[in-house]
């Protein structure tokens, strides 16, 4: 049996490469350690300017309440909106909160007063999130005031209800927990499609393929010898990444671990086969690298990794059905966040397996020993 020997040769070459073994360690380490800390959608520091036109005890309390929040930082109090606007223009503040004149008096007599919130929305995400936070604090304050007033007559007339959201699975809305499974998929897609893509075409460039082609090695053996090492490397990287996520961030999948490996194997098979197909059709490593980069960019952006698939236009949602990364991403997030079973993910698994089979056969057929 020649296959184990062919695989051994691939590993020897891999390990003699100065860069590759280093990448296998450094890449998961930096991605799992650094990226979740920097790629976050939580808004932590909101600088705001106050315009208090009332200067009453009640308006002062509101200012204190806002500045007491860990996410809010008071830049300064200004006599008018125009003055406060200057702080936004200089990018010192993200938000202006203006309390109307006679705020306290209106509250006591009418049970109703206005607070204006103006937010810098150049960064739309940050703008809407920080407005949301402020609204919460204001609602909280008004509820507090009502309680203190002892449910005055004005309230009983309107029905009032509190919405208390309960966040399922990711209870603290921790962005890291959402991103880490996605980053694991990213590690796999990078290593396990790039390296196979450069492998066969590399042998073409070096001329070694000529010598291999005159041997009686069959196509299936040859392609398997190129595929299996990357599946092994992929599973090693995944294990390392899971370990790092636990060590650094304290995350451990809620669902069964073996399910992650099952999906990872199917996914790596799909991506490595794609890499080998690209390699077979390319005549230089440059061509292969650019081609696989193209696939990776499309797969990543259409996988739901950064933007949810449900918010894509319909045509692009349909296109994601042929994106292997979509299924892997869904499975990874589900297994990390929910106590899933295989049954609930069998559709994703089926799709990955069909793709793996098609691409694997394609990889074998497209490899030609003569021309």
């Amino acid at each position: 049996m020649v296959l184990p020997f062919l695989i051994e040769k691939e590993f020897k070459q891999m390990m003699r490469n100065i860069v590759l073994p280093l990448i296998y360690v450094l890449f998961p380490l930096s991605v799992i350690n650094v990226v979740p800390r920097i790629a976050t959608q939580e808004i932590k520091h909101i600088n705001f300017s106050m315009v208090d036109n009332d200067h009453s005890p009640l308006s002062q309390r509101l200012v204190h309440k806002l500045s007491a929040s860990p996410n809010f930082h008071l830049v300064g109090t200004y006599p008018s909106y125009r003055h406060a606007m200057a702080t936004i223009d200089n990018a010192d503040a993200d938000m202006i909160i203006e309390i109307e004149p006679e705020f306290e008096k209106k509250l006591i007599t009418h049970g109703m007063a206005h607070v204006a919130v103006a937010t810098n929305s150049v960064n739309g995400m940050k703008g809407s999130l920080s407005t949301g936070y402020v609204t919460q604090i204001l609602a909280d304050y008004s509820a507090q005031l009502r309680d203190e007033a002892g449910l005055d007559a004005g309230i009983t007339r309107t029905a009032r209800f509190n919405v208390e959201p309960r966040y399922l699975y990711n209870t603290t809305l921790d962005y890291k927990l959402y991103m880490i499974p996605a980053l694991m998929a990213l590690i796999l897609i990078l290593i396990c499609s790039f390296l196979p893509a450069l492998n066969i075409v590399g042998e073409k460039e070096k001329g070694t393929i000529e010598q291999i082609n005159v041997t009686p090695i069959s196509k299936v053996e040859f392609i398997l010898s190129k595929l299996i090492p990357y599946i092994v490397v992929g599973l090693f990287l995944l294990t390392f990444a899971i370990f790092l996520a636990w060590l650094i961030h304290g995350y451990w999948p809620v669902g069964p671990l073996w399910l992650i490996y099952l999906f990872a194997m199917a996914f790596v098979l799909v991506m490595s086969s794609l890499g080998l197909i690209v390699s077979n059709y390319s005549s230089t490593t440059q061509q292969a690298a650019l081609l696989i980069f193209f696939f990776m960019m499309i797969f990543m952006h259409m996988s739901g990794m950064l933007t949810p698939i449900a918010s894509m236009p319909q045509w692009s949602q349909t296109l994601t059905l042929i994106n292997p990364m979509r299924y892997f991403m869904e499975a990874m997030r589900a297994i990390y966040l929910k106590p899933v079973t295989f049954a609930s993910l069998q559709w994703q698994f089926m799709c990955l397996c069909i793709m793996a089979a098609v691409l694997w056969i394609w990889a074998i057929v497209s490899y030609r020993k003569n021309s």
Binding site: G207, T215, I217, S371
Partner: protein, 304 residues
């Protein structure tokens, strides 16, 4: 005929690499393909090594068709491409082991075949193939091509870029393989001096054969008188020689000119002719032809 080729054709887009080439190689013979770069030697090798499909004609190796029985042929031939194509990041021993295993054999089983060659490089067996010198790379490549005991060896320009001493050693090894093991060898070379070391040669140019015969017969068949001429004004000499009516062809050969002359030509008359043109130290020697002379003559006849 262990290698038999009939009307083989191959075209790459605009270039006709092979134009209906036919030849046979006898068992146990060293057959040389002699010709300049671009003559079609590599194309011919790649078809015989089952790496390239011909456009027309047939070829068989060890009585097996190169298109139909390519799998069986691969077990019976050793192919050494013109470009060094072993794994440069594997060691000498690992390369040999690798090719032995891919052919389902072991180094020990066929060690006797490669012993004489491998000896030269065995002390470097833990060195990576990429770090070997040119001559040693060729010896390793030959060892790898031989490790599965092939019946026919195809060597595509094995001595190109190799120093003269290693070249000589390499040819001694080929003769040794031929005599002791009866291995048939088809070898190409752009060096005309190596042609003499083959049993038979085919002179090749522009995808076709000019002549196939033993090197001796080719030279003998080149019956025209050949003179080597030199003087103190070599630059002008070429033009003046071409003006002399009895010179049929003149071409530069090292530090002298080789002039083919008609049978009735007289060396003294040429001497006088050149002296009139102002040449001194005129040296005219009748010489016996070499393969290169034959090749030059044949290729100019074709073009003319």
């Amino acid at each position: 005929m262990i290698v038999s080729v009939h009307n083989l054709k191959k075209r790459y887009r605009r270039v006709q690499a092979l134009r209906e080439v036919s030849f046979d190689v006898n068992e146990g013979e060293i057959f040389g393909l002699i010709g300049p770069d671009g003559a079609g030697k590599t194309t011919l090798f790649r078809i015989l090594a089952t790496l390239l499909l011909p456009d027309g004609g047939t070829a068989s190796v060890d009585w097996l068709d190169v298109v139909r029985d390519y799998k069986a042929i691969r077990r019976r031939i050793g192919y050494m491409p013109g470009r060094f194509s072993l794994y440069q990041d594997l060691t000498v021993e690992e390369n040999l082991q690798f090719f032995a295993t891919t052919f389902g054999t072991t180094i020990q089983e066929n060690y006797h075949l490669i012993k004489d060659i491998y000896q030269h490089i065995e002390r470097f067996k833990t060195r990576k193939a990429g770090q070997l010198s040119g001559g040693m790379k060729q010896k390793l490549a030959l060892s790898c091509a031989l490790i599965h005991a092939p019946r026919v060896l195809f060597l595509d320009e094995p001595t190109t870029g190799v120093d003269p001493v290693s070249r000589k050693e390499f040819w001694e090894m080929l003769h040794h393989l031929q005599h002791d093991y009866g291995i048939t060898i088809v070898v190409s070379t752009p060096y005309m001096d190596e042609a003499m070391k083959c049993d038979r040669i085919a002179l090749m140019q522009d995808g076709q054969f000019l002549q196939i015969d033993t090197p001796q017969a080719i030279i003998a068949g080149y019956e025209r008188n050949l003179w080597s001429v030199s003087s103190d004004h070599m630059h002008q000499l070429l033009g003046h020689l071409r003006q002399w009516p009895q010179a049929t062809s003149v071409f530069s050969f090292g530090v002298t000119y080789h002039v083919t002359v008609s049978p009735d030509a007289d060396a003294n008359r040429l001497r006088n002719f050149l002296a009139q043109k102002g040449h001194q130290h005129i040296d005219i020697n009748p010489i016996s032809a070499s393969i290169e002379d034959a090749f030059m003559a044949l290729s100019t006849t074709r073009q003319g």
